[in-house]
C-alpha cells in the first residue's frame, strides 16, 4: 500500500506528515532544493503503509524541471491513495491543485489544514458539502492542535482491508473544462495540454480551473462570526512594513549570530576537554599498529585530527545553524528575508535569501555552505559558495587576523577596504558570468509557530548527513595534508624568496603561510606570528591569507554539496584572488 502526500508549497505539509506518522518516522525536506521524494512508513494496527512525501507544487500541469517527479509519481499505478493537503486559509488557490488531482482518477482524501486559522478569521468551511461535490472524504485538520488526526487514521484503518476505491472523486467536477486543441483531445486538460504547452489552450484551461476552484470555494466558505485578530497576524502586520520589518529582521540576524557564537564557544571547550584522551588513545593506537617511519607519523597525527576537528569545532556550529535555519523556515521568516533583501541580492545576481548563508558565514562557514541550499538555482549557489569561501571571514578567522594585525601594527583599514572591494568586485564579476536573471514572484507564507518535532527531525537530517558523509572525507583530506607538511615541501619554498619579494613584497616564509591556509586555519597566523615582518609586509600577507581559501571542513562541505569540480573551480579562484591581491597591494602600497 503506497500513499502519496501532495500539496502546494507552504501549506504545512511536513507538519501534517509529522502529525500522522508520530515522531521521527519521516524526515521533512528542504523547501525548494532537495526535490526528492521522501519515503517513510506508517503502521496502523500492524498494517504497514508506505507513505511518500512530495515537494510542494502549485500545479501538476505547470511542473518544471525537478518538479516533474510529482506528476510522474502520481501517474504510477503503484500509488493507491493520494492525500491532498490544502491550506484552508487559502482555499480557492489550493483547490486548483485538487481539481488537477481529481483528473488523475485515483482514490483521494483531502485535508483542510490550518482550519484553526480559518475559524479565527470568523469563517467556517462546509467540508461535508465539499466532500459531496468532490466525491471523496474531506477532513478539517490542524497540524498545530492535532484536530482531525484521529479521524484520518481511523478512516485509513477502516479501509485497509476493503481498499480505497470508494474514495475515487467525481470525474465531472473538473471535466467541465473543455479543451480547444485538436479533435483527438480527450478533454482532460492536465494530460493533453502537457504536450501542447505553447498553445493558448493551456493557459485557458489553467485559468478555467482557477475560476472553477474559486466558485467551489465560494460555495463552501461560510462567514460565521466576527474575525478575531490573532497575535501572530499583528506581528505579521508589523514585520511586513518595509522599514520596521527590515530592522526587526536585521535584529534577528544579529541575535542568531550571537547565539551561534556563544554556543560554539561554550561547546568548543567542553568537547575539547572530553575528547583530549580519545585523541591521545587514537594517536598512540595507530602509532603502535603502523610500523615506524613516514606513514606512522602521518597517520598517527592525521587521523585523530580529521576525526576530532569536526566534533570540537564544526559539529556544534552545524547543530546551532541547523536549528536556526529550521526555525527561519518553519516560522515563515525566511521568505521575508528574501523579499526585504531582494534589491541587495540583485547587485550580485542572487536572490534575497542569499543574505542568510552569507550572514551565517561570519559565524562558521561550514554550515553556511549547507545553508546555500535555500537558494534557487545552481548558478546562485555557486556565487554564494564562492563569496563564502574566499571573502567572508568567519569568527575564528576574524579573531586570529586581528591578533596578527595588532602584533605587527599592520594597516587594518587597508585590509578591511580590500576585503570590501574584493566582495563587490568578485560578486559583480560572478553575476555577469553565473547570475540568473529572473523576475521575483514569491509567496509569503503566514507567520507560524513551528512544531517541535518537525524542527527536531530537520536538525537530525542535516546533522546525520554530516556525520556519515563529511567525516570520512575529512579524515582522508586531513591525512593528505599531513603528508604535504611532513614531506617538507613547504621548507623548500625558500628558493622562491626572490620571486615572492618581487611579486608580493613579502618574504617566502610569509608566502608559505598563505599556502598553508588550505591546510588549517590556525596554522597560517601562527606561522606569520613567528616571523619578523614590517607593517607593510604584514598587511599584504594578512590580506592574502584572509582572501584565499577557506578551512578544510568548508572545502569538504563544498565537495559534498556541489561536487569536486566546483571545489576545484573555487580553489582556483581563491588562489587567483589571493595572488592578485598580493600583486596589487604590492604595487599600490607605498614602501
Amino acid at each position: 500500500m503506497a500513499i502519496a502526500l501532495v500539496g502546494q508549497p507552504n501549506v504545512g505539509k511536513s507538519s501534517v506528515l509529522s502529525r500522522l506518522t508520530g515522531v521521527n518516522t519521516v524526515v521533512s525536506n528542504y523547501p525548494g532544493t532537495s526535490l526528492e521524494l521522501e519515503r517513510g512508513e506508517l503502521t496502523i494496527e500492524g498494517r504497514k503503509y508506505e507513505i511518500i512525501d512530495t515537494p510542494g507544487i502549485y500545479s501538476l500541469a505547470l511542473a518544471q524541471n525537478e518538479e516533474t517527479i510529482v506528476p510522474e509519481l502520481l501517474f504510477d499505478p503503484a500509488v493507491d491513495l493520494v492525500i491532498d493537503v490544502i491550506d484552508a486559509a487559502n482555499l480557492a488557490r489550493n483547490l486548483v491543485l485538487t481539481l488537477e488531482l481529481v483528473d488523475l482518477d485515483k482514490p483521494m482524501i483531502v485535508l483542510l489544514n490550518q482550519i484553526d486559522r480559518v475559524r479565527a478569521g470568523g469563517y467556517w468551511i462546509d467540508h461535508q458539502a465539499l466532500s459531496r461535490m468532490l466525491g471523496c472524504p474531506v477532513f478539517p485538520f490542524s497540524a498545530l492542535t492535532g484536530e482531525g488526526v484521529m479521524e484520518v487514521l481511523n478512516l485509513l484503518q477502516a479501509s485497509s482491508k476493503r481498499g480505497f476505491s470508494r474514495f475515487r472523486p467525481h470525474q465531472d467536477i473538473a471535466g467541465q473544462i473543455t479543451c480547444v486543441v485538436g479533435s483527438d483531445c480527450t478533454g482532460k486538460c492536465l494530460r493533453c495540454l502537457s504536450q501542447n504547452r505553447e498553445t493558448g489552450c493551456f493557459d485557458k484551461a489553467l485559468w478555467a480551473r482557477h475560476e472553477r476552484a474559486r466558485t467551489l470555494a465560494e460555495r463552501v466558505l461560510i462567514k460565521q462570526t466576527a474575525a478575531q485578530v490573532l497575535w501572530l497576524t499583528r506581528v505579521e502586520k508589523f514585520i511586513d512594513k518595509p522599514w520596521q520589518g527590515s530592522l526587526v529582521l536585521l535584529g534577528l540576524v544579529l541575535l542568531g549570530f550571537k547565539a551561534l557564537l556563544s554556543f560554539t564557544g561554550w561547546m568548543e571547550g567542553l568537547v575539547a576537554n572530553t575528547f583530549a584522551p580519545v585523541q591521545e588513545i587514537l594517536s598512540r593506537g595507530i602509532g603502535m599498529v603502523v610500523p615506524p617511519g613516514f606513514w606512522n607519523q602521518v597517520l598517527s597525527k592525521g587521523v585523530p585530527e580529521g576525526i576530532l576537528l569536526p566534533f570540537a569545532l564544526v559539529m556544534p556550529a552545524m547543530l546551532m545553524v541547523s536549528l536556526l535555519m529550521s526555525l527561519l523556515e518553519d516560522t515563515g521568516l525566511l521568505a521575508r528575508y528574501a523579499v526585504v533583501m531582494e534589491r541587495f541580492g540583485g547587485l550580485f545576481g542572487v536572490s534575497g535569501q542569499a543574505v542568510i548563508p552569507l550572514a551565517l558565514g561570519f559565524g562558521c562557514r561550514t554550515p553556511a555552505i549547507v545553508a546555500t541550499r535555500i537558494l534557487p538555482g545552481t548558478g546562485q549557489r555557486f556565487i554564494v559558495m564562492t563569496l563564502l569561501s574566499i571573502v567572508i571571514p568567519c569568527a575564528a578567522t576574524v579573531g586570529m587576523i586581528t591578533s596578527v594585525i595588532s602584533s605587527f601594527h599592520a594597516y587594518a583599514s587597508v585590509i578591511i577596504v580590500t576585503t570590501l572591494v574584493v566582495f563587490v568586485v568578485l560578486g559583480r564579476l560572478m553575476k555577469s558570468r553565473y547570475g540568473e536573471k529572473s523576475e521575483l514572484v514569491y509567496e509569503l507564507p503566514p507567520l507560524r509557530i513551528p512544531l517541535g518535532c518537525n524542527l527536531w527531525s530537520k536538525v537530525k537530517t542535516r546533522c546525520t548527513g554530516f556525520l556519515t558523509e563529511v567525516l570520512p572525507l575529512l579524515v582522508i583530506m586531513s591525512v593528505g595534508v599531513r603528508i604535504v607538511i611532513d614531506s617538507g615541501v613547504l621548507e623548500r619554498l625558500h628558493a622562491l624568496e626572490e620571486l615572492t619579494r618581487f611579486l608580493f613584497g613579502i618574504p617566502a616564509e610569509a608566502f608559505a603561510a598563505v599556502l598553508v591556509t588550505v591546510v588549517q586555519r590556525y596554522l597560517a597566523p601562527l606561522i606569520l606570528l613567528n616571523l619578523t615582518l614590517s607593517p607593510r609586509e604584514a598587511t599584504i600577507a594578512i590580506s592574502m591569507v584572509a582572501l584565499s581559501l577557506p578551512c578544510l571542513p568548508v572545502m569538504v562541505m563544498i565537495w559534498r554539496e556541489a561536487g569536486v569540480k566546483t571545489l576545484g573551480k573555487i580553489m582556483g579562484m581563491g588562489f587567483l584572488v589571493s595572488f592578485a591581491i598580493g600583486i596589487l597591494l604590492n604595487l599600490l602600497l607605498p614602501c
Binding site: 482557477h210 518595509p242 509567496e443
Partner: protein, 88 residues
C-alpha cells in the same frame, strides 16, 4: 491569451501594479509577458483577480500584494508590466 478585451476600465485609466500605493486595491486587467504568467497564474493572479497592496519596498524593491488569503511578492520589474484598474 489571458487578456480581457472589449472591457475598458470604469475609471478610464489603466495603471500598472507598480503605480499603486500601500493599501491600494485593484483588479488585474492584463499580465505582461508569457513565461512568467504561469507562475503568477499558479499563485492565483490572472485577469479579474482582485488584489490589495500590502507593502511597497523602497529602492525599487518588490511589491507585496494580498490575493485571497495569500501574500505574494512581485519584483518591481514585473509589477510595472501588470496592468490593473482601480475598482469603482
Amino acid at each position: 491569451m489571458l487578456t480581457r478585451r472589449n472591457e475598458s476600465s470604469p475609471t478610464g485609466e489603466v495603471l500598472t501594479l507598480a503605480c499603486l500605493k500601500t493599501g491600494g486595491k485593484a483588479r488585474v486587467l492584463d499580465l505582461g509577458g508569457a513565461g512568467i504568467n504561469r507562475r503568477l497564474v499558479s499563485l492565483g493572479i490572472g485577469p479579474g483577480t482582485e488584489l490589495e497592496v500590502v507593502s511597497v519596498h523602497p529602492f525599487r524593491g518588490p511589491v507585496v500584494v494580498r490575493v485571497d488569503g495569500a501574500q505574494v511578492a512581485i519584483g518591481r520589474g514585473l509589477a510595472e508590466k501588470i496592468k490593473v484598474e482601480e475598482p469603482v
